[in-house]
């Protein structure tokens, strides 16, 4: 199966006064149609930048894409001009953001915002778009979609606004949905509902989804494939089971260990000592070197090559076997 999105050795750096921030430092993975790929990592690991940058959503300068390819349906997004990219954004590739409370314009009715992608990309008349948008709202489970279209964002709760955002992202029936921490700002029950909703819509539309999150619980519940990122690098990729049960990377292991579990509440939660590296100071070596309990001399000098330990299970680590 051809991947829908194929990211190859992609690098995106910020050129700041302090130096070059290597936010995305050579990442490679594929996203297949109908599948959910979760990108996990700590804050500042480059999860969001790795997605926003190739869509042209980050200010440039300071951002500069310094290498690699991002193939979407076989076309390199990095070679496209702003106009071409704009036609893809919001049409074939849609996004949902973390903050549903502020992602809607407070001065416009929900309806006037909902119809924008349809009017822009599908050249629908306002009336037609209004009808389609109302249906989209119904699909995401808003009880009175007609009334909702006439409302202003502040009249809605966070969960409802996130539903609106999802409905809006889906009006054009995108091939790929990028959800940047879509549930982080919501409470737990609403989180579950939103994830459930995303999954069911995905099934209907055969849509691929990239789920950016730092919540391993969300990953376990919603993802097919997982990419573990750290300091602008990919450390491990594989299926959910590969990552959760057969992880062969010290960082993934440490990350999993530091997740609270309901069946082990009495134990003190282990933490990963130290803190993520300053992205300006990253060297050619493995960025996890300082915090890794398996560190070897070679780790300091060069970043490991890809080694696979299963069909789709790839890892980047010099250590052969970890216990």
């Amino acid at each position: 199966m051809n991947p829908l999105l194929s990211i190859q050795d992609y690098k995106a750096h910020f050129y700041t006064r302090r130096g070059i921030v290597k936010a995305v430092n050579g990442i490679t993975y594929d996203v297949h149609p109908g599948q959910t790929l979760a990108i996990v990592g700590e804050s500042g690991s480059g999860k969001s930048v790795s997605q926003l940058s190739y869509l042209g959503l980050l200010p440039s300068p300071p951002l500069k894409i310094t290498g690699g390819q991002v193939l979407f349906e076989g076309n390199d997004l990095l070679k496209m001009g702003e106009d071409q990219l704009r036609k893809i954004r919001g049409d074939k590739i849609s996004m949902i953001f973390q903050e549903p409370m502020t992602s809607l314009n407070p001065y416009l009715k929900i309806g006037s915002q909902m119809i924008e992608p349809l009017v822009i990309h599908r050249k629908k008349s306002k009336k037609e778009a209004w009808k389609l948008a109302t249906q989209a709202l119904e699909r995401v489970g808003l009880s009175r979609p007609d009334q909702a279209m006439e409302s202003y964002p502040h009249e809605f709760s966070g969960g409802m606004r996130q539903r609106v955002m999802i409905a809006m992202a889906l009006t054009t029936e995108p091939k790929l949905l990028i959800a940047d921490e879509p549930t982080t700002a919501l409470d737990v029950t609403v989180q579950a509902q939103i994830l459930e909703l995303l999954k069911s819509i995905q099934k209907e539309n055969e849509m691929a989804m990239i789920l950016i999150t730092h919540d391993l619980g969300v990953v376990a519940g919603a993802a097919d494939e997982v990419v573990v990122m750290y300091a602008g690098r990919v450390f491990e990729t594989g299926s959910v089971d590969d990552i959760f049960y057969r992880s062969q990377h010290p960082y993934t292991r440490a990350l999993l260990r530091s997740t609270p579990r309901l069946d082990q509440l009495e134990k003190e939660l282990p933490v990963i000592p130290g803190s993520p590296p300053d992205l300006i100071a990253v060297t050619e070596g493995c960025p996890f070197y300082d915090r890794c309990s398996y560190q070897k001399e070679i780790c300091k000098a060069e970043f490991p090559r890809e080694s696979s330990s299963g069909a789709n299970h790839k890892r980047f680590c010099h250590v052969e076997k970890i216990s």
């Binding site: 869509l55 953001f97 992602s103």
Partner: protein, 282 residues
């Protein structure tokens, strides 16, 4: 649907008694000043030297001034000039200020920097100096008065709007609009400018009185309206000089000026509230 902001705002504005009062007073005034010049039947320049400083009477409703001219006619003609100057110059300044400010804030970086330095330089030029140069160069001209007043008033507006846009530019909903593939122009027009309307309208209602007063000041220096034409500013100035002798020459133009400014403020305040969707609904 697309102008739902305005239809909703109008709906909310109708609930605001003070704003309605202000609006009706202004409309009434405009109607009297522009549609019924017949009322000023005596003419603003007709002198009657045997009837100077006459008190209000059935013939001269507001009395007469030092040259025996009918004050009622003068207040009406003066109001025409004052309101035209005030409203037009303010609208022009708002338009220029909003466009300039939002562009500057949205484009950011070096462009923003140089655009704002131009504003700083214009700010530093003494306003009177600018007007005098304009007047000397192009001769005295009613249109030029708008230009001169507008030129100095848009600066603050531009700064206010730029500040607003700067703080809005990185809000998530702008990012979201970007991710939906909206064109930059649409983002500025549909998403940024409506969000700056509150402060713009408040400042606009503050600009109108200051423009009217500046026009009076210019006229006092002999750079604005020339006799026998009059504006409220010049009428008030004349009135102040003869306050003891004929208080009505001060009272009537001053009353109309204050009433107009009050109405504008009420209307502006009401508009600001009405344009905020978070305001009470129905």
């Amino acid at each position: 649907m697309s102008n739902s902001l305005w239809t909703d705002a109008l709906h909310r504005l109708k609930k605001n008694k003070l704003a309605l009062l202000g609006a009706s007073f202004l409309i009434l005034e405009l109607m009297i000043f522009f549609l019924i010049p017949v009322l000023a039947r005596l003419g603003y320049e007709a002198q009657d030297l045997e009837l100077t400083f006459a008190a209000p009477s059935p013939v001269h409703w507001f009395g007469t001034d030092s040259l025996g001219r009918d004050l009622f006619s003068r207040v009406i003609f003066g109001g025409r000039i004052s309101l035209t100057v005030g409203l037009l110059a303010s609208l022009v300044s708002a338009l220029v200020g909003v466009v300039y400010g939002s562009l500057s804030g949205f484009l950011g970086g070096k462009i923003d920097n140089s655009m704002m330095r131009i504003v700083d330089v214009l700010y530093a030029l003494p306003f009177i100096f600018l007007v005098i140069i304009l007047m000397v160069y192009f001769g005295r001209n009613f249109i030029l008065l708008f230009v001169a007043l507008g030129l100095t008033q848009w600066l603050t507006m531009a700064r206010i709007v730029r500040g607003q846009v700067l703080s809005l530019r990185h809000k998530e909903f702008i990012e979201a609009a970007n991710s939906l593939g909206l064109r930059q122009r649409d983002i500025v027009l549909k998403h940024l400018i409506p969000n700056t309307l509150g402060p713009v309208i408040v400042y606009l209602t503050l600009t109108v009185p200051s423009v009217i007063l500046e026009e009076a000041f210019l006229s006092y220096l002999g750079l604005g309206i020339q006799a026998p034409l009059a504006s409220w500013g010049t009428l008030i100035k004349e009135g102040v000089d003869v306050m003891d002798l004929a208080p009505w020459t001060l009272f009537f133009p001053a009353f109309f000026l204050s009433a107009t400014l009050f109405s504008l403020n009420f209307l502006g305040d009401g508009l600001r509230d009405a344009l905020d969707p978070k305001g009470a609904r129905d």
